[in-house]
């Protein structure tokens, strides 16, 4: 079971989030209510990432397990973060993270009409999020295999 997917850009903005529920049809994309939660997640991952690098240089955070859920993260050199929350049955999701990165490339980066570096916008607006239906659909396919 995948709980949710989060994508953060290099300006620490959450540019995509999607909550998966048992019932597919009620899953929530880019919800406003999640904004503060996104910030919390970013903060947590950020601190852990910084700490793990500090302890052993060159080291990167990949997964993080708690009692109830597991977090899988992919960090690119351009500081794009892809974070997946799953239950404990998923031990390793890095192939899917890579796939989502590829989808991000295909539907967002390669779409010249979609702005990708949103430094100017101090507060991430709703419109700055990834809303492409084909992207969402493709992501669903990857995550609900």
């Amino acid at each position: 079971m995948i709980y949710s997917l989060w994508i953060f850009d290099r300006h620490c903005n959450c540019i995509f989030d999607k909550e998966y529920t048992v019932n597919q049809s009620t899953s929530i994309v880019n919800s406003k209510e999640q904004q503060s939660r996104g910030k919390l997640i970013y903060g947590m991952v950020h601190s852990l990432k910084a700490m793990s690098t500090k302890i052993a240089p060159g080291n990167t955070l990949r997964t993080l397990t708690t009692g109830k859920y597991r977090i899988h993260a992919l960090f690119t050199a351009s500081n794009l973060w892809i974070v997946i929350f799953s239950d404990l049955t998923h031990h390793e999701l890095h192939e899917r993270l890579d796939k989502i990165y590829e989808l991000y490339l295909k539907y967002v980066v390669h779409n010249m009409l979609k702005p990708i570096d949103l430094r100017e916008s101090e507060n991430a607006k709703e419109s700055d999020k990834i809303t492409s239906p084909s992207f969402i659909k493709a992501v669903d396919q990857v995550l609900c295999l």
Partner: protein, 208 residues
Amino acid sequence: MNTTTGTSKTASAANTTSLASSKTIKQIGETVWKNRTVKINAELFTLTYGSIVSQLCQDYQRDFKKVNDQLFSMGYNIGIRLIEDFLARTAIPRCDNFVTTSEVISKCAFKIFLNITPHVTNWSNTKNSFSLIFDENPLSDFVELPMDASKELWYSNILCGVLKGALEMVQLDCEVYFVSDVLRGNTQTELRVKLNKVLKDEMPAGED
């Protein structure tokens, strides 16, 4: 709570371990070029770029300074996207120093996107600026600059923009500019990359 870190079996992590030797960088470049790059016809590519430049010259009434700027900003917009593409294909992590960066640019990036490997040379003493020497330049095949342009136009200026944009996305604030170009009658085509500073990763607002 426990965290797993470090090496893993996935492709993206395979390259993480050592970027130290330039041989690996070269290999990455060659493998990606061979297996994961869609090729297009060289003449089509050259003509497409050529028609853009010549159209810009016309649109800006042969104000070549403006044409240079426009090419640069077009390149910048390509660069900030191309870097993601590059990282996804190669899964190269951040470079430890600027020397490694230069190797990655020449042996990997130029190899993958243009199938050329410009020489890295003319390092400054402080190791924060270098030159790329182009023996061949697919952008400028067949090109002869008109007389009035040969003093001012940097025909391949889009490359500077691409590098600038791409490097900025990996937190390297650089100045990128052409020093000489065979099209202008110089003996070689030289592009200078100068590191201004390494930008800090941004922190979430209100975190400090």
